[in-house]
């Protein structure tokens, strides 16, 4: 694909896809039932499609390795790319609702895999509506990290129910996260930051990380620096609002 000079969507110099061919609106309607395939259950997720080097054949007998990090609304994939080399043995996936953007991330990963043999084999992307189908992809307690970076604020009060962090959806996220796993959220919209923090605080299965724990976690710094959105906020001198919580067992 890199050899094909006629393919303008890839940059000739880096081989990476050019963003301007994958432009999409920032907003996508999470309520619409788009036309993409959903795995019937987590057992139906095709690991050999996403991680061919780890799973050469579709019928994987070794199911000990499972996806552990999920970037919800991964956008153009900035965070995943940084995490991939930081945690080379961990399988991670990005979930994105927008078609074109998912295509961009796919191309980016493929290009990186080609340019860096042996690397980036642990990262992939899938186009899906994570607000409806998270339990279809992940088993109970499968994930150890979940990311919600700069989610759509849905400013109008009547649209608050479309927010990706809500007291109801946290039930599902708590289900797929193992006890001790961490959920990372960040936004540049203060009201949304308050909203997410309140939802997490009030949920019986999450507790806040202490400031020492935040300092010690290498991933926390990536939240504002690794993504295109985060870099834009930094460029504009904006403030970010973080809420990082740990999944705990519910008290009886």
């Amino acid at each position: 694909m890199l050899e094909n000079e006629a393919n303008p969507t890839l940059s000739k110099s880096t081989g990476l896809p050019r963003k301007r061919f994958y432009r999409a609106r920032a907003h996508s309607n999470p309520l619409s039932d788009s036309h993409f395939p959903i795995p019937i259950s987590p057992h139906h997720v095709d690991y050999s499609l996403h991680y061919p080097q780890f799973f050469p054949s579709p019928d994987q007998t070794d199911s000990s390795k499972k996806i552990q990090f999920a970037d919800i609304g991964c956008g153009f994939g900035g965070l995943l790319i940084s995490l991939a080399t930081l945690f080379p043995e961990t399988l991670m996936i990005g979930m994105e609702l927008r078609d074109k953007v998912t295509e961009y991330v796919k191309e980016r990963i493929l290009a990186l895999r080609t340019a860096n043999p042996g690397q980036y084999q642990n990262v992939s992307v899938v186009r899906t509506n994570s607000m409806k189908y998270i339990p279809n992809y992940f088993e109970k307690g499968q994930l150890s990290k979940m990311f919600f970076l700069f989610p759509d604020p849905h400013f109008k009060e009547k649209n608050h129910r479309r927010r990706v962090i809500s007291r109801f959806l946290l039930d599902e996220y708590a289900y797929v996260l193992q006890v001790g796993a961490v959920i990372y959220t960040i936004t540049d919209v203060e009201e949304l930051g308050e909203w997410m923090k309140t939802c997490l605080k009030e949920h019986p299965m999450f507790e806040a990380l202490t400031s020492q724990e935040l300092e010690a976690d290498p991933v926390v710094k990536l939240l504002s620096s690794a993504t295109e959105e985060g870099q834009k906020v930094a460029r504009n001198g904006g403030q970010t609002f973080r809420a990082v919580y740990r999944r705990i067992a519910p008290s009886l």
Binding site: R23, A24, R25, A26, P30, L31, D33, H35, I40, S41, P42, M131, K132, Y133, P135, N136, K140, R167, F168, L169, L170, D171, E172, A174, Y175, H203, P204, M205, P250
Partner: protein, 435 residues
């Protein structure tokens, strides 16, 4: 109003057709049937029709189609709810309406906790609400406010069930999912701990029933779906234990190649508690399918295919009374357009469904004659509204119901051109976007 042409005979929301429903008191003290907004109850102890008393300010009785009617496990309560966005809880002693709860959206499913303390109802937006009932003291309470318990994001909830031990609440939706959630000590704070998801159906899940014995107190769940199967699940782990292709068994799987059609969805199912018999109603099938469930081998198998009423009875709702071993069924509809009788119902009963021996005799499952049914013709007259209808009307009703169910629960698959056309004619879409 839409510019796009109406497809699949989409009907105006105000006069949507609704299937007739039936519910039986746990010890068969009374039988309730709902046809449209009419809630008809026959008291089998007094052998007379019940007149419901409702003094609430919200207005007596229901104003629009009732979509769910059920008795609580202890027999003291009956709840009815539906398109008028009201949930009414009735006392089965005094037949007074104990409380009326207002829902924001039309109600699609209801469950009463086994101890009779809580009523949960689900709306078409996927939220399950809970309201607590005070200790029953026969007094009328001012309309109570429900609080959200849990939610299936943007998915119509089709069925709600409490597990027999009261530890879990199950919710099934049109996105093929069944969710088992721990029912907490303080449910008014929400039910946040999900026990499992039972995933495996390939179409909307339409109904749920629990099976349990002393040997297996946590119980198992059977579910019916638009994919024409009945599946058996272990809710603790969410694993699929067995599946039975009832559509195929009834000889109904169409080879007509019309993909958009939802063929032979399971519309309702019920079981006797030990699971020895599961009765299944299918769209377009004039009778019921009886399945056997073996809890030790955790398998489902076909017990018998029973045709009913000389071949024109397609049940719209079923309920078993385990104490009497009777399977009560109703077929019927309200708001049937283009018909002289827009509202009709017929009740039928099959006996012998509490027998749990594996080799079922043909004479054991008997369809009862009208005069053999408890309550006899008085009950039939009350619940049906009339003693006889033309047969063809019921078949037309069944077809209309099938279309309505499909419109509601089956995701429409549009061709790419149609999808683009729909996007273009959306009135809220901005033409130009720059980022």
């Amino acid at each position: 109003m839409e510019d796009t042409p109406m497809e699949f005979g989409e009907s105006n929301k105000d006069t949507e057709i609704a299937p007739a429903l039936i519910a039986v008191h746990p010890t068969q003290e009374s039988v309730a049937a709902a046809v449209g907004p009419d809630l008809r109850i026959f008291d089998l102890r007094q052998n007379s029709a019940v007149s419901l008393k409702d003094d609430s300010s919200v207005g007596s009785l229901h104003k629009d189609s009732i979509r769910v009617v059920r008795y609580g496990a202890n027999g003291k309560l009956l709840v009815s709810a539906g398109d008028d966005k009201l949930v009414k809880v009735w006392s089965t002693e005094s037949w007074h309406c104990i409380t009326t709860v207002c829902s924001e959206k039309r109600v699609s499913a209801v469950a009463i906790s086994n101890d009779g303390l809580y009523v949960c109802f689900a709306d078409k937006f996927g939220v399950v609400w809970i309201v607590d009932l005070d200790r029953p003291d026969g007094q009328v309470h001012v309309g109570k406010k429900a609080v959200p318990l849990l939610s299936h994001y943007c998915s119509i909830i089709t069925s709600l069930e409490f597990s027999p031990d009261g530890k879990f609440i199950l919710s099934a939706d049109r996105d093929f999912k069944i969710r088992a959630t721990v029912f907490p000590k303080n449910p008014l704070d929400g039910a946040h701990e999900i026990q499992s998801f039972c995933l495996g159906h390939t179409e909307f899940v339409s109904c749920l029933a629990f099976l349990w014995t002393e040997e297996y107190p946590q119980g198992f769940v059977v579910s019916g779906s638009g994919d024409s199967t009945v599946r058996l699940w272990d809710i603790l782990s969410g694993s699929l234990l067995d599946a039975c292709e009832v559509g195929e068994k009834a000889g109904l799987l169409g080879s007509n190649g019309r993909e958009a059609e939802c063929y032979s969805a399971v519309t309702d199912l019920c079981s006797n508690p030990d699971g020895s018999l599961v009765a299944v109603a299918l769209q377009s099938f004039q009778g019921i399918i009886l399945l056997k469930c073996n809890l030790s081998t955790q398998t489902l198998s076909l017990a018998k295919v029973v045709s009913i009423g000389g071949g024109t009875f397609i049940p719209t709702s079923l309920q078993m009374c385990s104490s009497t071993g009777l399977l009560w069924m109703v077929t019927g509809v309200s708001n049937l357009r283009g018909s002289e009788c827009p509202s009709l119902a017929r009740v039928r009963v099959i006996s012998g469904v509490n027998k749990s021996n594996s080799d079922s005799d043909t004479r054991e499952h008997q369809e009862l004659e009208d005069n053999e049914i408890p309550g006899g013709t008085s009950l039939l007259k009350n619940l049906q509204g009339s003693l006889s209808y033309g047969e063809e009307v019921f078949l037309a009703a069944a077809e209309a119901l099938k279309t309505a169910m499909s419109n509601l629960l089956v995701k429409k698959q549009y061709s790419t051109e149609k999808r683009d056309f729909r996007k273009r004619t959306r009135n809220d879409k901005k033409i130009k976007q720059r980022k």
